[in-house]
């Protein structure tokens, strides 16, 4: 049995520069892969933070909408109560006028008792109407008086507008704007996630650069990966 055949390297010596250059490129590529991975992790973390912020904004928008709708319900209830009181007020005032007129006619026709009763009723109604108005709505929202001084219109839209404005808490919130902010945050998070694909593509190129036998191709691939990495990272962070 003979000894195993062992290749002989006698006389063969690779130059140090060549060895260093070969080793350094691979080392650089390995470092680049690590760098790209770390950058990807940072982007993922940042995207996740943006997503959390978007969720917070979503919750805020819902809370604001609840507040706004509570205010709206309150405004509508107050408004309709006032409108109802106004309608009664208007009817009472019209009745006052008509009863006084009726009293005059009755008195002139000789129905003095009936005339007095009608006038008493008119006076009572006047007091009721005045109290109704004082307790329920402001005369500022009454417009359009007829010939007898009876108001004809309750300014519903103006009153609604004022009630809404007076509700400070609801007036301060803008759920639509909060929703827009949440959407923007979510878009940014999404965009960052998109650049991760570019980074993984850079890793693909670097991996191929590592295993290729052609040195020149290795350099080009690594260069392209670096370019992609830089562009993606800059756009991901700066463009954000």
């Amino acid at each position: 049995m003979t000894d195993a055949v062992v290749p002989s390297w006698a006389g063969v010596r690779e130059s140090r520069w060549y060895r260093l250059r070969r080793a350094d490129v691979k080392l650089v590529i390995a470092v680049l892969i690590g760098l790209v991975s770390v950058t990807g992790a940072v982007i993922t973390w940042r995207s996740s933070k943006l997503g959390e912020n978007a969720t917070d904004k979503d919750r805020q928008a819902i809370a604001e909408t609840v507040l706004q709708e509570q205010s709206r319900a309150n405004v509508e209830t107050v408004l309709r109560n006032e409108q109802e009181a106004f309608s009664q007020y208007k009817e009472d005032l019209a009745n006052v006028h008509l009863l006084n007129q009726q009293a005059d006619n009755l008195a002139s026709a000789g129905f003095t008792v009936e005339a007095a009763m009608a006038r008493d009723q008119a006076n009572e109604l006047q007091r009721v109407a005045d109290n109704l108005q004082t307790l329920n709505f402001s005369i500022d929202y009454v417009a359009g008086f007829d010939d007898n001084g009876v108001p004809t219109t309750f300014l519903v839209d103006k009153r609604r507008e004022d009630l809404r404005r007076d509700d400070d808490r609801a007036a301060r919130v803008q759920p639509d704007q909060t929703v827009a902010q949440a959407n923007t945050l979510r878009s940014r998070s999404q965009r960052l996630e998109g650049w991760l694909i570019a980074l993984v593509f850079a890793v693909v190129l670097l991996t191929y650069a590592t295993i290729t036998r052609r040195d020149i191709l290795r350099v080009y691939l690594a260069g392209a990966a670096v370019v992609i990495y830089i562009v993606a990272t800059v756009i991901a962070f700066v463009g954000d």
Partner: protein
Amino acid sequence: MAEIEAPEIEVEADDPNFRRVLAIVVVLITLFAACLAYLHEQNGNLEDRAARDAQLASIRGFGQQVAASTESQFDYKIFVQQQLLQRRQLVAASRERTTDSQFASVYQADAQRYTDLNNTIASDAPVKTNDDYNAKDASLNVSPDESRLTQQVLSNRANDFGNKSDAYVAILTVLAVGLFLIGLSLTVSGRGRYMLAVPGIGIAIVCLAWSAIVTLGSVTDIPQKAVELTAQGQQKQAAGDLQGAIDSYHQAIQLSSSFGPAYARLSDAEFENGVSNTTGNQFESISKPDNLKRAIEAGDKALSLGESNPAFVSSLGFFHFAAGDFSQAESLSAQALQGNGEFPPFIFNLGVAQAAQNEKSAALATYKKGIDILKKETDSGLRQQIVSAALTDLEIADASTSKAKDLIQQIKGELVDVEFATNTDASDTTIDGLTVRDDRYRLLAEYDTSADDTTVLTNVWYFRPIDAGGKGPFVQAFTLDTTSTPSNGHVSTTPRENGPCLPGGDYRVEIYAGSKLVGSNDDSPFHLPDSGLGPLTSEGGDSVGITMCRPENWDPPPNQENGSLSFANRDDPNESIVSFSFPIGTTTLATSDLQTIAVDSVVQSDALTGVSAPQNGFEFLGRTVNGTDVELPTTTVTGQLPSGVLERITTSVGDDGIVRTVVIRAGNSDRLNVIRAELINSLRFLDVPEPNP
């Protein structure tokens, strides 16, 4: 000896290309996984966004509902106030006409004042009639309904995105298995490595195809216009415009054929559009076959699109039952109960499907459960309607199958016993000589019985419309139902009405002693022909103080006077009816004299000639606040107008000081008699005093 350093040449014991290729495959799979992660994130974001928007829509819908309700209440209060003023004006005007001339001017001024007051608040009142109110209420509910539908659409969209997002996670997990196999292949030499690497790559390819399918899969995307049209359809349906509602739903479906709520509502509207129910029950059971078919088609489509509301599913189950598909009916009804198992109509829908298939123990158990829950219902009106609908459903089952008659009758008896709770235990009770007849748009049953005078018997009525041609199932008419106590072995039930206008058709009564059926005119139902004046529709109400039936081709005058009902035949202007009531002023005259005076005043104002002698009778029927019918004494004369048209005046003056008058006209005496028989008999003067004991 110089140190020899071995060059860094990769010694690849195996195929070097294998590892290279595998490395490339791994990084490509990683790239694919990154894309999947991106898609997962994207769909997760879209899900979050849709879920948030759905919540916002539901909150806004609630706010809109509150606003709509407050506005509706305001409108209704003003409407009621107007009605009140109209009544006051009517009373004052009536007093003016009937009081001493000295005080007439006082009442005239009062009447004018109420008219002016009414006009004053008229500008605040967008609704003038009950129909106006219903229409306004329906329109106010459009926005909240739109929000509810939008919420549903967005929730479905959120679900779709959520499903996609979850699918990407599943693909990533499977992909990890592929990567594991590929990685494992590097540890094996020889051909064995291919046994691991190839399946790994295969899994990656499958994942690629899977992700393509998921990505291309559609998500809910309903145009807002379709939502609006569906909400408008609901508005029309609520206002009674069923055909308009159906058209709106079809338009919505044209815009989006995957909008489940539009199909579900279309199904309901189609069924309702085919109902000719005159029993006043909100739970309708019998629709025309074509409508039923269309309702099932639309409902099945809605179901396939994911509609799962228990009310809808239960209704669809019932539609299938009505069409004779008992198995599908049972399946759907059971499904509905999973969503809401505490609403008796849903439970009875399942029970009747089981009964129709003669699943005795299951059906009895289901009905027992429904009855137990129904007993807790405190609204007696609602309970009555639910039992009535359940009885009608059992009628349908009875008409559809012959194998479960005993079971169906047993259940009917239990339902009747629950509703009337007569506590009658008279299993040996018999009845004989059952006859049914009509009286003034009312029905009554008479029979002899072996039951003693303390036994309470229950008379349960069923009705089949005349257009059914004497075929098909009856509808349970709960407004006719009564309990009776025999008197000397004989029962004559209190006459009852089948809704405002007694419709022509077949009437059947079942007599129960407790839960036992002791008699019925099942073999020969009482047939009531339709009115000689054509189809009738009900008119009037509390606001007028009168209810009556009018022929559909008779129109009211442009300005109906307050407190009166007037109609004229549009095909023959000579034919008309005017009915009115008003309080009489202070007087010392007897009511019989007042009746004659009231008749004379009309005779004079209409310049009648050939006036007949006054005839006294009891032509009018009044109804007390408690719902008791009272026959009112009347005086009637007939004469001829200058135009030759015949006029018949009937007046009654009650103990309550109210004058009630009806004037009918026709070209000849035959028609006058028909109008009298059909229309005066249908009149009810409301709020008459309780009869003296």
